[in-house]
């Protein structure tokens, strides 16, 4: 796999075609269950193919594909490729990696449990899923999470990671509780990758496409910077 292959393309969703823009609703305000308003994300990773989704890893144990799993409840044009994922998903992957380490076992995100667009049938109110910053974990190691005991045990573990993490208590009321998964929620985080230039214009820019390729993170990125440094700055 070439280095180039893992560079994620970041797009301004205002530049996407009309149909996609209408489904992703960049910058729109949506209300949560309490009536509070939140602005939907505008910058997305564009995943060109299923192969790319499988190959690109956000952390050592979480690939892009794990956050893209949806079923027919997602709007049909958003089920195929290219797919769009809010850039804040990288932050979620970071926390899930720590959650995995704390659990000592693999962490499996359910279908419809990663990113859900505002057009997804489960997106009645604003939820962090629409920001790519919540995950519904249905299995940890070989444990399918369907008992109060298991869900509460892993809820505690997730909350102990950081004050940034909230979970849904065990119970049966959809949206308020969870009885067949652990809901790991970071809230409404918006990420704007440093490689893209922000533009206040919220109209498609035909002659000035607003996209960028995110540089590789971690060791590989540092290696590239180091090799390219002239020491003249």
């Amino acid at each position: 796999m070439s280095n180039n292959h893992q560079r994620l393309k970041v797009v301004d969703a205002f530049d996407l075609d009309d149909e996609l823009r209408a489904l992703l609703r960049p910058g729109d305000m949506v209300r949560d269950e309490q009536g509070r308003r939140h602005r939907l994300p505008r910058y997305f990773y564009e995943i060109a193919s299923h192969e790319e989704a499988l190959n690109v890893r956000l952390t050592p144990h979480f690939g892009i594909n794990e956050f893209l799993l949806v079923d027919l409840k997602e709007a049909q044009p958003l089920q195929g490729f290219p797919r769009y994922l809010p850039c804040a998903v990288r932050v979620l992957a970071f926390y899930l990696e720590h959650f995995r380490a704390a659990a000592g076992a693999s962490v499996h995100i359910a279908v419809n449990g990663g990113y859900r667009s505002p057009s997804h049938k489960m997106s009645e109110h604003a939820t962090a899923h629409m920001w790519g910053t919540a995950a519904d974990v249905y299995r940890i190691g070989t444990n399918i999470l369907k008992t109060k005991e298991l869900i509460e045990r892993y809820n505690d573990l997730a909350e102990e990671l950081s004050d940034d993490v909230t979970v849904l208590p065990y119970g049966h009321i959809t949206g308020k509780n969870a009885d067949d998964h652990v809901h790991v929620d970071l809230g409404y985080i918006t990420v704007i990758p440093r490689e893209i230039s922000e533009d206040r214009m919220e109209m498609p820019q035909e002659n000035r496409p607003r996209f960028a390729f995110e540089e590789r993170r971690r060791r590989e990125r540092r290696a590239v910077i180091s090799a390219g440094s002239t020491g003249q700055e």
């Binding site: 799993l69 009885d179 067949d180």
Partner: protein, 293 residues
């Protein structure tokens, strides 16, 4: 008992009448032998154009024969372009009761379909779910498909084909609904009509439905009363006190016939072989009439 709708021209009328009387006697005998509380039978033979029923309009608990209606509802959505057979469906064991909107889960230990619940948290396509719902009577696949198309659309599919005698209120294992007496119900004549629309290719995606039904894995009902060469596109249904089978019987050298056998028995009796015995009797009767023609 309904008198034959149409008597075949070539067959002597006394033969048909004799066969009917003989069949009626046999049915009464079988009902007694198997200690059945209720027995409903309906068949239509495309070869002789004979239609016959016994307690054909008596309502039974549908058990898993209701899955034929769900299949019809799914295929209606597919034919309308509102759904594709390749669409992925999240496999999740969480459903909502029609009575109190409370969530409930299926007892997966009772469901004979690791093929479906082995995918918990992942997806299967609508086509795969339809396949497991019919061929292994998967309750999980059924409830997932009911969630996908909605009960209202299942009933709409039945109404559009003027199928009465099939009342679908809910998915399966909704205990609160069961306790409230809200059950899916079928009559032999209702299921006969449903199957005839498939056999006559009048239902949406009939060919697809037939192909799935031909792969039925439970064969102790109608097929057990037939020669091994017979191919049967069918759906069984049984709970503690009912045992049903409804199918389209395809035999070489003759037109198909459609048969529905519904039985209800005391809980202590067990289901026995009544359905297979009725199937054998009907086959023998029709063979005789066909031969005489």
């Amino acid at each position: 008992m309904t008198v034959a709708e149409k008597v075949p021209i070539a067959a002597p009328s006394d033969s048909v009448a004799t066969s009917e009387v003989s069949l009626y006697r046999n049915v009464l005998q079988l009902k007694k032998e198997h200690d059945l509380e209720e027995l409903g039978i309906a068949f239509y033979d495309s070869e002789t154009t004979i239609q016959w029923s016994y307690s054909g309009d008596h309502y039974f608990h549908a058990a898993s024969t209701m899955k034929l209606a769900v299949l019809l509802g799914v295929m209606r959505e597919v034919a309308r372009g509102d759904l594709t057979l390749d669409a992925p469906v999240h496999i999740r064991n969480r459903f909502t009761s029609i009575v109190n909107r409370e969530p409930f889960m299926l007892d997966l230990a009772r469901d004979a379909d690791p093929d479906v619940y082995g995918h918990l948290g992942k997806t299967l396509s609508v086509r795969e779910l339809a396949y497991w719902m019919i061929t292994k009577s998967s309750n999980l696949a059924t409830n997932l498909l009911v969630d996908v198309v909605g009960i209202a659309n299942v009933q709409q599919a039945l109404d559009e084909l003027d199928i009465d005698g099939v009342r679908i209120l809910r998915g399966v294992e909704d205990q609160a609904a069961f306790n409230a007496g809200l059950n899916n119900e079928v009559t032999a004549n209702g299921l006969l009509k449903l199957l005839r629309t498939i056999a006559d290719r009048k239902a949406p995606c009939s060919e697809e439905m037939l192909n799935i039904m031909l792969k039925q894995q439970y064969r102790s009902g109608i097929p057990a009363g037939l020669p091994k060469a017979a191919r049967v596109a069918h759906k069984t249904g049984n709970i503690s006190t009912v045992n049903h089978d409804a199918g389209i019987i395809l035999l070489d050298g003759r037109e198909p016939y459609v048969l529905v056998v519904l039985t209800q028995f005391p809980a202590e009796t067990g289901r026995g072989t009544a359905v297979a015995d009725v199937s054998r009797d009907i086959f023998n009767t029709l063979s005789q009439l066909t031969y005489e023609q």
